[in-house]
Amino acid sequence: MSKTNVNTFRNQPNEAGRFGIHGGRFVAETLMPLILNVEKAYKKASADKSFQREMYYYQKHYIGRPSPLYFAERMTAHFGGAKLYLKRDELNHTGAHKINNVLGQALLAKRMGKTKIIAETGAGQHGVATATACALFNMECEVFMGAEDVERQKPNVDRMRLLGAKIHPVTSGTGTLKDAMNEALRYWVTNAETHFYIIGTAAGPHPYPQMVRDFQSVIGTEAREQIFEAEGRLPDALVACIGGGSNAIGLFYPFLDDTDVAIYGVEAAGKGLGSGLHAASLTGGTPGILHGNRTYLLQNDDGQITDAHSISAGLDYPGIGPEHSWLHDIGRVNYVSATDEEALVAFQLCARLEGIIPALEPSHALAYLSTVIGDMDSDDIVILNMCGRGDKDLGAVLPVLEKLGRM
């Protein structure tokens, strides 16, 4: 399985969980035996046909996969460049791509005999997906969420509570995703023997980045088949937003070896890269170690992690999954960024032109489109990962659009 092939971008990580210099297992000893157990169980499950069948069953009948690949005709006309297709993962049950990963990990937890689940969440989409899977499989669910995010993503907090999850608002640090992850890890250290930690993005200690990528790759695998069906060929470009990087790696991974496909990962530039108030770890950070892996981080000269800023709670994280850091180092993927304001404009544009209210996270990918598409021919093809819907964001977005005089 892990045979070395220099002609592929799909041979990472190695046995130690490394993607180039990134990744690894930088965790306290208390967690180390657990992480090794998860790795062993995941290896066994991924080689087991019955696990694959179970996954497929829930993907089809519960999530509603495959999600459509939709030709966005009016946005295509608006940009006047390449043909734009949207991979509609916002139509998944619970409204985002997060459920793809959660079902995989919940089924793994079930196989390992664990019935208590913890999760961190930023936008609340991962928390909602985890609460949902826990209801479905009769598991106890505890979700750690930054106090600031509890405020700005209230509808998701209510959904989680309705689904029976217990919410722990986190006030340490800036009260956002990084702090929620710290607290979830601390809680896991304290309840190591009984609990399974469902990490919500393609980051954390090995095997999480690999496992989350594999579970999310259903997005790219479907998109690849669907674009062949619709157009008879590969796309020319892929675009996805990046918080920790799970929706992006899910779309990108099956295309990594198709080197004619240009790939763009869009980070959150917040109030602008020059302002210092952003969440662009690759374009504005340096490699370091946090949350169990080495990866690009926002940090100061003394190795202290600095605060991220983004209007989108799901992108408001000072790190990124280690596979993206590697893809950045080797130059296979272009990492770019979009500001809060650009994302808001794109949010509204997509709603008005396509009747699709996107989440603030993929609105960053939408915002970058004008740059990519402008340079392309009209018979070129772009696929954008519409990884979540925006209902959760109305409370945060509408007042700002009003203030900008756009409503």
Partner: protein, 277 residues
Amino acid sequence: MAGRIDTAFAKAKAENRGSLGVFITAGDPDAATTEALLDGLVDAGVDFIELGMPFSDPMADGPAIQAASLRSLKGGMTLTATLEIARNFRQRHPDMPLVLMGYYNPIYIYGNDRFIADAVAAGVDGLIIVDLPPEEDSELCIPARDAGLNVVRLITPTSHDQRLPAILAQASGFVYYVSVTGITGMASAAATSIADAYQRIRKQTDLPIVTGFGIRTPEQAAETARLSDGAVVGSAVVDIIADGVANPSSPDAAENRAAIVRKVAAFVGELSAAIRA
């Protein structure tokens, strides 16, 4: 040549008692107070000192030590300044073992080779890096050991017997048994579980085994030092510092600092007396 750590443990053993270690965070609330606190710990009779290198995201620490890290960073503490504190300490105290404890990222950013060289030159005796398990030994722990630093290993209730050889392979100085499955400053362990763990680890190493996490009183320290080869107290000491910062006993900063040092020294004096009783 036996290192300071080996010598200190041998001395306690010759006195037929366990050792006492105390943890404080460098720069909490500022470098001058830390230097005075370190002197106070030596005078109060500790056998070794763990000096915390502050980190913004201390994943394995409870609220007390998290807050200590933040106070320290807010006061402008850096790894360079922590090494400076260590160097000054070594000039005043040639024999007291000093172990730096913290997380990997600030060291990685400082540069592993440069850090090891500067720590050795400062007279640091050992390192405890919380988020470097044996699986990640090659980058820092092995070069540190080769440069003469002790690599102090953490062993936890989840470290099962088959795992111990890997953990102990590079260990030196002493091993640190984290007696509870959890973060610092929370629960304390039952005596029977410490005794069982001690037996389990003792089968696989001759190094001194000290126990920490959740030890708050002189009685607990004495009992823990009896059940293993030593006790480490952290959060209970850090709490005294936090209280002195939050509720200054004097409007004069120097006077308030002296009061904090007196209170810490008095408490550590009780710990030390209990261990020697």
